[in-house]
């Protein structure tokens, strides 16, 4: 994870196209300017960044499923829960599962676990739009970085 760059996902651990599910991993950095404010002397990953982590895992799931045909933009967060503190150095397992799709949107359910323990969960909704200029290449680079490049046709 590089919190300051909103790069929340390190690797895709598994991707199940038929089951429409992605499991990704991320290690919380030991140090970050984020922790200087949240909170001084008591570093905790903010809930809003855990939400972003679930959104990015969901986004990669949708991009892999649609093979980069449309860009998912986060438009809704429902039922977000943060059950335990997430602290520097912890390894996160992020699961994103497809929930529902329709004309121009898709919905997912996402969870974050630390050592098997559920620490966060949310239902997320995305608008699926044509890619803005140049963004497709950026997303292809990110998809490749996390190890899902083989899911995208050349």
């Amino acid at each position: 994870m590089r919190l300051e760059y909103f790069e929340m996902i390190d690797r895709a651990a598994s991707f199940d196209r038929d089951g429409r599910k992605l499991v990704a991993t991320a290690r919380v950095p030991l140090e970050s300017p984020v922790f200087e404010g949240h909170f001084p002397g008591h570093p905790l990953v903010p809930g809003v960044l855990l939400t972003e982590t679930m959104a990015q895992a969901s986004g990669y799931l949708l991009l892999a499923l649609n093979r980069l045909s449309h860009m998912p933009f986060l438009v809704g967060v429902d039922e977000a829960r943060f059950r335990h503190f997430v602290t520097p150095g912890q390894d996160l397992s992020i699961e994103a599962a497809f929930d529902q799709e329709g004309s121009g949107y898709a919905a997912t359910k996402a969870k974050i676990r630390v050592e098997g323990k559920l620490v966060a969960s949310a239902s997320l909704r995305f608008a699926l739009t044509p890619f803005p200029a140049d963004m497709k290449n950026l997303m292809l680079a990110q998809i490749t970085r996390i190890g899902l490049g083989s899911e995208i046709p050349a």
Binding site: V75, Q100, G102, S103, G104, Y105, R125, A127
Partner: protein, 92 residues
């Protein structure tokens, strides 16, 4: 509950529009001011409630190409007829 009442409740809830302003004659865009993002929220809730997939993109394309008047899809009584057709097609 009728299709209209169900859809009107969904619109009131998701788009924050007073329920009594929503009538079968209301045009979702021109009268109620529902924008494309709010429409996605409404489509999500309607799809889930009725177990259908409203082809919003197809409808929008038809309207933009002049093949179908916008009223056919976006006046609520007509929208509800389209929903009823999709439900009937699903169960047929």
């Amino acid at each position: 509950m009728s299709t209209f009442d169900t859809v009107a409740d969904i619109i009131a809830d998701t788009a924050d529009i007073p329920r009594d302003q929503i009538t079968p004659e209301s045009h979702a865009i021109n009268d109620l001011g529902i924008d494309s993002l709010a429409f996605l929220d409404i489509a999500f809730a309607v799809d889930k409630k009725f177990g259908i997939k409203m082809p919003l993109e197809q409808w929008t394309q038809e309207v933009n190409e002049g093949k179908t008047p916008a009223e056919n899809y976006f006046v609520l009584k007509n929208l509800c007829s389209r929903i009823d057709e999709l439900v009937a097609a699903k169960t047929a």
